[in-house]
Subunit: 416 residues, 3 copies
Amino acid sequence: DEAETKGGLKIVSDDGNFSAELGGRIHFDTYFFDKDDTYYYQTFSNDDDRKEVVNTTDFRRVRLAMKGKLWKWKYKLERDFAFSGTGGLRDVYLGTEIFNGDLLIGNYKPRRSIGELTSSNETTMMERAFATESGIYDGRGRQQGIGWNTYWCCHTFGINLFNLRDPGDPLNSGIGAATRFTWAPINDYKSTLHLGASLSYEDANKDTPPREALVEYAGRRGPEQLVALSPGGSDFFFGEFGEEEFYLGRPGGDVLIFGLELAGTYGPFFAQSEYAFGNFSGDIFLSEFTFEEFFGAPPNFFCDPFTGCFIGDQSVHTWYIMGSWAVTGQHKPYDEKNGVFRSIRPNPPEGAFELTARYDTIENRDIPGMKVSNFIFGFNYYFNPKVRLMMNVTLGDNNFIDDRTKQFAIRIQGSW
Amino acid sequence: DEAETKGGLKIVSDDGNFSAELGGRIHFDTYFFDKDDTYYYQTFSNDDDRKEVVNTTDFRRVRLAMKGKLWKWKYKLERDFAFSGTGGLRDVYLGTEIFNGDLLIGNYKPRRSIGELTSSNETTMMERAFATESGIYDGRGRQQGIGWNTYWCCHTFGINLFNLRDPGDPLNSGIGAATRFTWAPINDYKSTLHLGASLSYEDANKDTPPREALVEYAGRRGPEQLVALSPGGSDFFFGEFGEEEFYLGRPGGDVLIFGLELAGTYGPFFAQSEYAFGNFSGDIFLSEFTFEEFFGAPPNFFCDPFTGCFIGDQSVHTWYIMGSWAVTGQHKPYDEKNGVFRSIRPNPPEGAFELTARYDTIENRDIPGMKVSNFIFGFNYYFNPKVRLMMNVTLGDNNFIDDRTKQFAIRIQGSW
Amino acid sequence: DEAETKGGLKIVSDDGNFSAELGGRIHFDTYFFDKDDTYYYQTFSNDDDRKEVVNTTDFRRVRLAMKGKLWKWKYKLERDFAFSGTGGLRDVYLGTEIFNGDLLIGNYKPRRSIGELTSSNETTMMERAFATESGIYDGRGRQQGIGWNTYWCCHTFGINLFNLRDPGDPLNSGIGAATRFTWAPINDYKSTLHLGASLSYEDANKDTPPREALVEYAGRRGPEQLVALSPGGSDFFFGEFGEEEFYLGRPGGDVLIFGLELAGTYGPFFAQSEYAFGNFSGDIFLSEFTFEEFFGAPPNFFCDPFTGCFIGDQSVHTWYIMGSWAVTGQHKPYDEKNGVFRSIRPNPPEGAFELTARYDTIENRDIPGMKVSNFIFGFNYYFNPKVRLMMNVTLGDNNFIDDRTKQFAIRIQGSW
C-alpha cells in the first residue's frame, strides 16, 4: 500500500478500501497582561476573591488525531493533551455517506457559527469571537450526537441532534438541535461572498449543567465575565452558601440562539462578520451576595431583600467584524464543503505576512449594564503552510465591572 | 519497508526484525432507562442518597493502541481516552517467546474466563457477563504482572503471577495468581465445541483495596449492586462514619475463584456458558447503617446492636448462558491461540445480522437474599467487518433491593 | 514516499521536505524494600503521618512520541501515559535551524547536567542522580521556553530562557535561564573524555510554586527527603496549620545552581561524575511543628519559640560518581551533538551484560545534619538494542532522620 507524509503519517490501501493517517498540532502561547489598576485597586477594597491575571506561557493545544477509512465508513479520534481526562477528547466519531451527505455519530461540532466551524489551525485571530464557544456557546463547542451535512454548488446545509454533553461533562439527559445553511453567491478564483444562518436549541433536563455565555474579554487566561446563564437540570447546582445561598425558582430552562454570517474575500483582503441573538431562559432568584459571586459586581437593579435578585429570560446579543490583509498578496481559499474560510498558504520557501483586526461585543439586555467588548489587532507570519507565528494585542472593555485589562499575546503554531 | 493499512497504520521491515502498527477503536453508546417506579418511590422514603439513572450518551471506549516487534521481543501500548489518568491504561506490556509460549510482562488480562478474554470488539452482547470484570472480577480485569501462555493442537494453557493492581489503582503489595486450561474436542469449519476451566487466587496485603463483586444489573450506567466484598490491606479502608462507623475485625483476606466454560458453534448458531464459584474471605463487622450504605438495603439477618452485622467468608456463585444466531448465515470463528470465539465477519459490501440473548445471574449465599439477575436480548448489525451497530434490551432483576430497572441501549462501534 | 520501521512507524517524503515518525517506550518496574526498623519503630513513637514503603509494581514510563519535519521546521509531541493530565506532557516543541544551531520553542529540558540530558532509555542506573531532576532540580527537569543549542568539532553549547513551569504546574510568572558548555578533548573509537559546565538561574515571581531539592534516597517510590527549598511567589503557599502555621518573611526568592561534569569511556569501561552547587534563597520562618512536617525531623538548631525556625539562604552541594563495565565488551558511544553518553548496543542476536555502580550524596550546609547519600549497584542485561533488563540494589542513608532503607528494584524496558 502507499505511504505518504506531509508531516504526518498516512497510508492508503491499493484497493481504496482503507486509509489511515495520524496528524497533530501544537499551539504554544505566551501572554503578557496590562491590568487595569483602577479596577484592581480602587473599585474593590477586598479583592481576595478576585483572581489577578498572570503573565505566563501556556500550551493552548497539543493534539494528536487519527483518522481513516473502513470501506464505506470513516472514523476520527482526536485527543488534546493540553486538557485533562475525558475533557481532552475532541473530534471522536464514526461516519458514513448517506443521501449525498455525511452522517456523523459521536462527538464533534454541531453546525452553527462560521467562526466556530473554522479549524483552530486556520483562525485569523488567536481566539475565536464571542459568537462561538468563546462566548455564547461556552463549553458547548462540541457535543455528542448524530448529524448530517451536505453541500451542493455553492450551498452547504447541516443538521444535528445532540445530547447536551461533551465527553468532559457529567452524564445528563439534556437534548439539543442545531442547523446551518450557507450560500456563496460569488465564489471565483479572486473573490468570494458568503452568507449564512444558523439556529441552535438546547433544552436542559436531568443533571444538565447550566449553560452560560462566558467571555474572556482580555484574551485567553485573562479575566472572565459571565454574561448570561440558564440553570440546568439539577435542583441546587450551585452548591450552598449558608443564608446567602442561591435560590432557584425553576430548574431546567432552554437556550435558543440564532446566528447570521456575512463574509468575503477579494484578493488579499478578507472580512468576516457574525451576529448572534440568544435567549437564555431563566426564572431564578439570586441573593445579592450570590449575584456578585457569579457576575463579579453588585446588581444595578432592585433586588428584594427577602427573595433576592430575579433573573428571568435573558436576551443576549453579540456581533463582531473581523478583517485581514495579506501584505504578501495571498488569498484566503474558501472551503466549499463546510462553508468556512481557510487561512492563507505561502508557497515554500517563501513566507507570508498578514495584518489582522477584530471588534467584538456581547450584551445581556436583561441585566442592566452587562456589556463586554474588545478590540484586537495583530499579525500572522507564516513560515510555511504548516507553521505560523501570531501576535495579538487585545484591548478588553468590561462595562459591567468597569475593567479595561489589555493583553499582548504571542503564539507559535505547527500542524501536521 | 512495507506499508499496509486495514484502517490502521502498519509498517513491516523487509528483514522481518521489526514491525509496528497503530490501531484504535471507538464505541459510542446511548442509554435509555425504564426505572422501576415501585422501587424508587415506595421502598425508600428518603431517596436522597439513591442515584437515579440518567438517559444519556457515553463513549464506552475510545482507544489507540500501538504494537510492534523488536527482534525477538514484542510490545503493546494501549490507552483508553474514555477514562482519565493512569486508569486509562489497558494492555501495556513487553513480551517474548519462551518454551513455545508467550511470556508477557506488564499490564494485561490474566487468563481466566472466556468472556473476559474475548476482545471488547468481538463481544456478543454490549457488556460482559457477571463471571468477568463486569461482576466477580470487578475492577480486576487487567493486572500488572508476568505470565506465560501457550497452545497446541486444540488446547490452550496460561498461567499468571500478578500484583493486585492495575495502573489506575494505588501502590499495593497484594499478590495474585491465575491459570486457565481449555480444550476444543471438536473444531472444524462448521462446528466447534470448547471446554475450559480457570482458577484465580488473590491475596490482599499492604494497601490492597477491597476486592468486590459488583454488578450493573440493568446495563452500563445503570444501578449498581455490591454482591460481595473482601476487605483489603488498609486498617480502616472505608473511612469513618462517626458512631455508625465500619468496624473491621481482620484486614486482608483472600479471594479464590474457580470457573468452568462450555461453548460451541454450529454453522450460524453460537452458544456460550460459564459457571464461576468464588470464595471472598471476610471476618468483618458492619453497623446496620454501614451495611445499608454498602449493599443498598438493610440486612435480612440478625445484627448484634453492639458489634454490628457480621460478614464472614462469602460463597459467590454466578452463571450465564448466551446464544446468538447469524440470520445472514455467517459462522463465528474460533481463536485457537487464545481459546475464545470471534464475532462473525461479513464479506463487504454485504452486511450481516445477528440475533442475541443472554440470561445471567449472581448470588452471594452468605448474605440472605443477595441474588441479582438479568435477561438481555438484542441484535448486532455488521456494516462491514470493522463497523457494527448493537442494540440490547436489558431486563434487570435485583432481588436484594427489589428493583426491576430496564434499559434500552444502542452502540455504534468501529475498530481499525 | 518511503516507509520504514525499527519498531516504530516512520515515513519520509521523497522530496525531503517532510518526515514523520511515531515511537514510544515502556519501563515497567518492580520494587522490594527492606525498611529500616530502627527508624520506623524507635525514632518515632507516633508514625501516623509517616508513609511506609510498599513493595509493588509500577509503570515508570509509558510514552508515545510523534516527531517530524515540516520543510525547515521540526516538531515533537511526547506524552507519558504513566502520569495524569497535563503533567504527562514531556517534549512538546517546534524548532528550526538558525545560526548553525537548533532553536526550540515549547516544553523540553533546559541544557544543564549531563545526567539530566541523558535519555531515560539510555541511563546507566534505573534512576538519575541527585544532581538532576531527581534532586536539586526536583520537578523542573523540563520547562516551557525558548532555547538554542549548537555543536562544533568537540564542543556543545546551549542556552535557554524559560518560564518556571512545566505543563503540569499552575500558571506562573517566574523566569529562569540556563546555559551549558561541554568539551571533549579526547574522542576516538575507543576512548572519550568529556568535560562540562552548566549554570542555571531561576527567579520566582507571581504564583511560582516553591522550588525544592527533594530526593528519594532509597530508590523510586521509597522515602523522600526534602533537602532545601526556596519559597515561591504566593504569600502563603503552604496552607494554614492553625497556631502552628508557617510564617513567610519574604515571598519569591531565586535559585542559582552551578554544575561541573567529568566523564569518559575507555573500551568497555565508563565513568561519569558531576558536582553541583546551588544557592536556594530563603528568608522564611517556620514553626517547629511546620519544620518537622516539611523535613521529617525536628530542627537540630535553635528556634525562637515566638518567631519560629529561621531558614535563610541555603547552600546545597551534591556530587556523584558512577561507573560501568560492559562484561561482554561493548563500548558506550558518545553523542557529540548533545554532549552525553549513550548506552551500549549489542549486535543482535547476541545480548550484552553490564555491571554498574554509583555513589551519590547531597547536603544542605545551612540546615545542620541535612545530608543524604546512597550507594547503588546492579547490572543491565540487553536482550537487543531496544529491550533491556535492569537490576539495582540501593542502599539509602538519610543522615537527617537517621533512616537506612534499602531497595531491590527490577526494570524491564523497551523503546521503539
